[in-house]
């Protein structure tokens, strides 16, 4: 084990996989000469050369689409989106091509492409630059969609993504890049997709989330434990598609109460699927409706005070937990 930042975990995963497999390459805007907006790819151009570390023009559809074509021919391209917001420009290439080619070709090709990049709010980037995309991508069969919350998961899941045979949308939390955590040193350490896990045990309320909101939920859980004597069980979904809610069902069977936390807008957001599925599956166990804690339903404003109001906070999670306990 070594202590690593979430950023370095991602970086290490790419480097190790590039060392391991000559078919792995990375492409994106300003990842080479500029060394990456978040410096995740710093030094990689020098190490691997311009054929494997490709600076692209500003052309997200071009990046995603060419990567799909490379993947169909046996390469394992990683596309770094400068931020995932820009990937909307490539939506057709991802949703209508990457996700569907295996199917409409009758299974004749693999499409092992990883589309990764930071997302999320928090540094006043305003409406066009502050979004998260779990439900946006999670809706489409043919994709795998992951959103790790820890350095170890970031590394292990990115390796799984690179080694896989399907298109993976790898959603990184920009706000977590600096966060540190223990990461296994084993070069073959991978984390499978579709396995959620309990990251904190507790008997009172189940809190389900992923990515940065999982960290926020953990903090809220700690405060609730300390201040209110409420013990939350926190479930980290890690993967959005395929979605593994078994640990959540098991937990709710124990706690009978559930809160789902998501950064983005409530309507048609990821928490809706999670809440609806939990309710469908363990309805009789629920002593209260599943609560959703989400961002406000507005485009992200620039002003600091408004941005703070627009994004979920610990207090909201704490209040939701108390509400499902009828302890408001």
């Amino acid at each position: 084990m070594s202590e690593k930042s979430y950023r370095d975990a991602i970086r290490d995963a790419m480097i190790e996989e590039m060392d391991r497999d000559a078919n792995v390459l990375i492409m994106g805007e300003d990842i080479g000469v500029y060394e990456g907006t978040f410096r995740i790819t710093a030094g990689m151009l020098k190490k691997y050369g311009p054929k494997r570390v490709i600076d692209t023009p500003i052309a997200e559809a071009g990046m995603a689409g060419t990567a799909v074509g490379m993947a169909m021919l046996g390469l394992r391209p990683i596309v770094e989106m400068m931020t995932m917001n820009f990937a909307i420009v490539a939506a057709d290439q991802i949703l209508n091509h990457a996700a569907k080619i295996r199917y409409f070709s009758g299974g004749q090709v693999d499409v092992p492409v990883v589309i990764r990049g930071p997302q999320g709010a928090g540094v006043q980037l305003s409406a066009q630059h502050s979004q998260t995309f779990e439900s946006f991508y999670g809706h489409f069969p043919g994709l795998k969609v992951v959103a790790p919350a820890t350095p170890a998961d970031a590394k292990g899941m990115l390796k799984t993504a690179i080694r896989g045979r399907d298109p993976v949308i790898f959603l990184e939390s920009a706000a977590l890049y600096g966060m540190k955590g223990e990461v296994p040193d084993d070069a073959d350490f991978t984390v499978p997709f579709g396995e959620s896990r309990v990251v904190r045990e507790g008997g009172d309320v189940t809190v389900v989330s992923y990515s940065r909101m999982m960290q926020l939920s953990l903090s809220a859980a700690q405060r609730l434990s300390k201040d209110e004597n409420i013990e939350c069980e926190v479930v980290d979904l890690r993967t959005l598609r395929p979605l593994d809610l078994e640990p959540a069902y098991t937990s709710v069977t124990k706690t009978h109460r559930c809160v789902v936390v998501q950064e983005q807008w409530k309507p048609f957001g990821a928490a809706a699927e999670i809440a609806a599925s939990i309710t469908e599956n363990v309805f009789d166990e629920l002593d209260a409706p599943v609560e959703r804690v989400t961002g406000e339903d507005v485009p992200m404003p620039y002003a600091r005070n408004l941005e703070l109001l627009a994004t979920p906070h610990e207090e909201q999670v704490m209040n939701a937990v108390k509400r499902v306990m009828y302890r408001e």
Binding site: G62, T66, G107
Partner: protein, 338 residues
């Protein structure tokens, strides 16, 4: 350009009586009969979805594909039957695909717009106009990255040139070409219309070959009704692209004799006269006449080809008809790996 064309046309005529011209004629006739059959079967309700046939444009596919090597690969849009057949896909399996049968070339899951036959170098078959150009560009990069001298051929229509992904793909191909990493030939099937919108109404600059110069990609126009001309350009360009890993664009000026798709009955955007006039330049007739004039091709030879094509299409139809539907659990297969 004009000079180059003359020269290569001359070279082609030297080789005009080589046996593969007969093979090309055979293929073009087969494709024509196949397409006519699909139009009938569509009307009979045996084929669903959208159906876009290649009638009138055959030389654009055959002139290029016949010059490719094994290992070269091809991407195109939804007007894709000819490309599959000419690459060597089995007509029965192609027809079965159109019938939505389990023996179809894409297991009945893709249909007319999504033919795929990776074994023969056919990488689809796409329904979103212009969407596949980026894929083809990436595929070309991959071929070079892997150290091969295989090349990619990417077909698309005149109308596809106006959508964003066309632009992004072209610029990236131009850039990668500077590094010798873009062994790709872009082929504009300029049939004069994007559905019902003529080139003058959809392209600000109607010289389509000239448009791609904006990407530092060399280009030329060729008469897409004359398979000799297409093949001539193809041989020269393929050699160059294979050698240098640089992209090239060929604008094949052609015409579609049928409607845009099976539903395009009224065709209010063009006159019957216009269509009839173009039919005088039928690529099959042009090739046949040339072979008769220069190589002593007999009417009987042609008749034999026609009969063989009819038989092959009949066999394909029978195979398609008699093949079973996909099993229900096919629904859930091929969504992701395993």
């Amino acid at each position: 350009m004009a000079k180059q064309e003359t020269e290569s046309a001359a070279a082609v005529i030297d080789a005009v009586c080589a046996p593969d011209w007969t093979e090309i004629l055979r293929q073009m006739i087969l494709v024509r009969r196949f397409e006519e059959a699909t139009e009938r079967e569509f009307r009979r309700g045996k084929i669903g979805g959208y159906l876009h046939v290649y009638i009138g444009q055959e030389a654009v596919a055959s002139g290029i594909i016949s010059a490719l090597r094994k290992g070269d690969i091809l991407f195109t849009g939804y007007r894709d039957h000819a490309h599959a057949l000419m690459l060597g896909s089995d007509p029965g399996r192609v027809m079965a695909e159109l019938f939505g049968k389990s023996t179809g070339i894409s297991k009945g899951k893709g249909g007319s717009m999504h033919l795929f036959d990776v074994e023969h170098g056919f990488y689809g078959g796409y329904g979103i106009v212009g969407g596949h150009l980026t894929l083809a560009t990436g595929a070309a990069y991959a071929l070079r990255y892997q150290g091969t001298d295989r090349i990619t051929v990417c077909y698309f229509g005149d109308g596809a040139m106006n959508i964003g992904p066309f632009h992004e793909a072209m610029n990236m191909a131009g850039l990668w070409g500077h590094e010798g990493m873009a062994p790709i030939i872009f082929i504009i099937e300029n049939n004069g219309y994007a559905m019902g919108t003529s080139v003058e109404r959809h392209s600000a600059l109607t010289d389509l070959a000239a448009r791609v110069r904006a990407y530092d990609i060399p280009s030329e126009k060729v008469d897409g009704q004359d398979v000799f001309a297409v093949r001539g350009v193809a041989e020269r360009v393929i050699r160059q692209v294979r050698e240098n890993g640089t992209p090239y664009c060929i604008e094949a000026v052609t015409y579609r004799f049928s409607g845009h798709g099976a539903a395009d009955i009224l065709q209010p955007y063009r006159s019957k006269e216009e269509v009839e006039q173009h039919k005088h330049r039928d690529p099959i007739v042009i090739l046949r006449n040339r072979l008769s004039e220069l190589c002593g091709l007999k009417d009987d030879d042609v008749k034999r080809m026609e009969d063989a094509a009819a038989e092959e299409v009949a066999r394909a139809l029978k195979f398609a008809e008699e093949s079973p539907q996909p099993e229900a659990d096919e629904l859930y297969r091929d969504v992701v790996a395993e």
